[in-house]
């Protein structure tokens, strides 16, 4: 079993190579993309089954000695992440297939490589290898970002690429400092090193700083708001669920293993992440299009998720992990449902949309459920996530952070209602008018429109709604049947609080 | 002083001269040509360093450097001519 772990990386890469040269038929290309996606989901589910009781599986690549080989490790946390990311990749692929975007020649290979990078980053137990896999997931993203081919995409792409490269370089510099001090980059050997040596801690500080930039923590969040509004809805949904979340995963993992949860530094995190929650949500309320509202929200939610690691109590970590999984699902659902509207009606501007609740009841249902979940309302997963997280904050005596989290959830609802009212309830501004692209208001900075030549009242096709609906259903499932995810999160958190199982699995073999 | 060191100093000084031309121009063609000199200088520096350090393996490096110079010269010519072939 252990030796099969690298297949999660190898198979998508092979598939990408195949799809690069495979010109047709279209159904075969689609089938290949979806099959690999579904395979990864199945593999992830198996991993969850295997690790849910606390087992950790590790495999030294190439069967070299520990400390020499790159280890691939899976525990409950990484298995959970693999499964969730695989689900998102599959669902977003379905959406892309439904909207026809997947038929762009290089779309599928890029998505597959992206997924390989994600799985690699989640599974590797080596700091430098983590850097490599982060690049493997980033570089296809650059292409996916600009593949839509608008000027806005190129501009957003510039910001995204440059910030990502700066961050990756910083990350690598951190790795260099760690190797310079500790003489190893293998996580097992680095276990607890930062708590013992302030020098290792400083080096890891650089690494964590880079990860925080990748996670779009305030005040280094601006790039996200600019670049995630540029690409197509499917791509934004994919990014939202993968990129920042892999960075967050790494923060959790590295802080737990290398810092051993050192509590003397946690106040910084609590402070920063509280500010992140607040700034993100305020930014969201101020925006005027579905996508930009949701993108600002991501930042706010990232604050919530990272608050879990900043608490570093068993309950806090569990809450954070629960929140992480919940947020990945729900955020993608929101991007996909608003994206479906954007795809069909050609705009995401609130004042150019309206009345969709009546015209697209399924879409409305998918959006509303996810929106309420995001705002932390029952019976959706967001409620459980918020409940446990804020309770953990109270339990840890972090009153201010808890208060901020409560207030922010109200503003979150406010911004979600802004979309709801603007897109689904308000009067359709173009009722009775021609549904072509509005004249004049479409500046160079506006997201690309696809309405040219669209029929007057197109309507969202069921296949386009389905992905968002599925994810909202998953969120509802995680709310009503939250026990499953809570148990997994608890198991994942247990390995972060006490890393000995993880470290033993990585080092002694 | 080792005679090779003298040679090194000469080459490096030449590269500095070329750098001056790169910065001052006056034409793009001058800048391009001067850039080429800098890349030729690389060949010399690597070869001389190899002699100085007794590193036989720099021969490969020298070969790479000459290739560098060739490709660079042609690219720069293209650039000077504004992309005209």
């Amino acid at each position: 079993m252990n030796a099969a772990l690298p297949l999660l990386v190898a198979v998508p890469i092979l598939g990408a190579a195949l799809l690069t040269v495979l010109e047709g038929p279209r159904w075969l290309r689609r089938a290949l993309l979806l099959t690999i996606g579904a395979g990864a989901l199945a593999a992830g589910t198996c991993l969850v089954q295997l690790t849910r009781n606390g087992q950790v599986y590790a495999h030294d690549l190439g069967l070299w000695r520990d400390g020499v080989a790159i280890p691939f490790v899976v525990d409950a946390f990484s298995a959970l992440m693999v499964t969730t990311t695989a689900l998102l990749i599959l669902v977003c692929s379905v959406f892309a297939v439904a909207t026809g975007e997947a038929d762009r020649r290089l779309f599928s290979p890029l998505v597959l490589v992206l997924s390989a990078g994600v799985y690699g980053a989640l599974l590797t137990g080596d700091l430098f290898n983590l850097f490599v896999f982060v690049e493997v997931l980033l570089v296809p993203s650059y292409g996916l970002l600009t593949i839509a081919g608008t000027l806005r995409g190129v501009r957003g792409g510039r910001t995204y690429v440059t910030v990502s490269l700066l961050t990756s370089t910083t990350f690598l510099a951190g790795v260099a400092l760690v190797y310079g001090v500790a003489g190893t980059v293998q996580l097992g050997e680095l276990a607890g090193a930062a708590q013992e040596s302030p020098l290792v801690a400083s080096g890891m500080g650089v690494v964590l700083l880079a990860l925080c930039v990748k996670a779009a923590v305030v005040p280094v969040h601006g790039w996200l708001t600019r670049s995630y509004t540029a690409p197509s809805p499917a791509v934004t949904a994919l990014f939202s669920g993968l990129h920042t979340k892999v960075a967050i995963y790494a923060v959790y993992r590295l802080y737990a293993v290398v810092f051993d949860g050192d509590s003397s530094l946690l106040w910084v995190g609590v402070l920063v992440f509280s500010v992140t929650m607040l700034v993100g949500v305020l930014g969201a309320v101020g925006e005027k299009s579905t996508r930009s509202i949701l993108v600002f929200h991501m930042i706010s939610q990232i604050g919530y998720i990272l608050l879990g690691v900043a608490l570093f109590t068993e309950l806090g970590l569990m809450a954070g992990i629960f929140y992480l999984v919940h947020n990945m699902v729900v955020k993608a659902s929101l991007f996909l449902s608003t994206g479906a509207a954007e795809h069909t009606y050609g705009t995401g501007e609130l004042d150019r949309l309206g009345g969709l609740a009546r015209r697209e009841p399924l879409l409305a249902l998918a959006f509303l459920g996810a929106a309420l979940s995001l705002a932390g309302l029952p019976p959706f997963s967001g409620f459980v996530a918020k409940l446990v997280l804020i309770t953990a904050a109270f339990e840890d005596g972090r009153w201010m952070a808890a208060a901020v989290a409560v207030v922010v959830s109200l503003i979150t609802l406010m911004s979600m209602l802004k979309i709801w009212d603007g897109v689904f309830w308000s009067k359709d501004p173009e009722d009775g008018e021609d549904h072509g692209p509005a004249s004049g208001s479409e500046g160079a900075g506006a997201p690309g429109t696809v309405t040219a030549g669209a029929p007057a009242k197109p309507g969202v096709r069921p296949a386009v709604v389905l992905p968002a609906l599925v994810l909202t259903a998953v969120s509802l499932g995680f709310g009503l049947g939250s026990q499953v995810l809570l148990d997994l999160s608890a198991q994942a958190a247990a390995h972060l609080v006490d890393t000995s199982t993880y470290v033993e699995a990585v080092t002694s073999r | 002083m080792n005679p090779v060191d003298i040679a090194l100093v000469l080459v490096v000084a030449s590269m500095a001269t070329a750098a001056y031309r790169i910065l001052t121009g006056p034409t793009r063609a001058d800048q391009g040509a001067a850039t080429d000199v800098v890349f030729f200088g690389f060949v010399g520096v690597v070869a001389l360093l190899g002699m100085r350090l007794g590193a036989e393996l720099v021969v490969d490096l020298v070969l790479a450097c000459t290739l560098l110079g060739f490709v660079t010269a042609l690219s720069l010519a293209r650039l000077i001519a504004g992309g005209k072939r």
Binding site: V132, V154, R158, L165, T169, A173 | -
Partner: protein, 102 residues
Amino acid sequence: MTLPIAIGVLVTGAVYLILQRDMVRIILGFVLLGHSVNLLLLSAGGTFRRGRPLLETAPAEEAADPLPQAFVLTAIVITFSITIYMFTLAAASEDDDTEEAS
């Protein structure tokens, strides 16, 4: 002492260029930044042993740490890949100006 100074100089130039508005300058800044991190990686292996880790021609006792060298090779390729792409982005419009017209 020398290598840290070189790294410092490179980073200074890199950051100055990265903060400019022209995409080409930004890219060149990143090229410099890449060099500096590569040197930092090598420096992390220790610079007191400078022998080549080629065991046919040199004794292992003097050989430099080979691991950072492998890291740097990987890093060079990755930086190069992204550099190519950034140049593409710079080319994909009339000008490489990143400043918005206000």
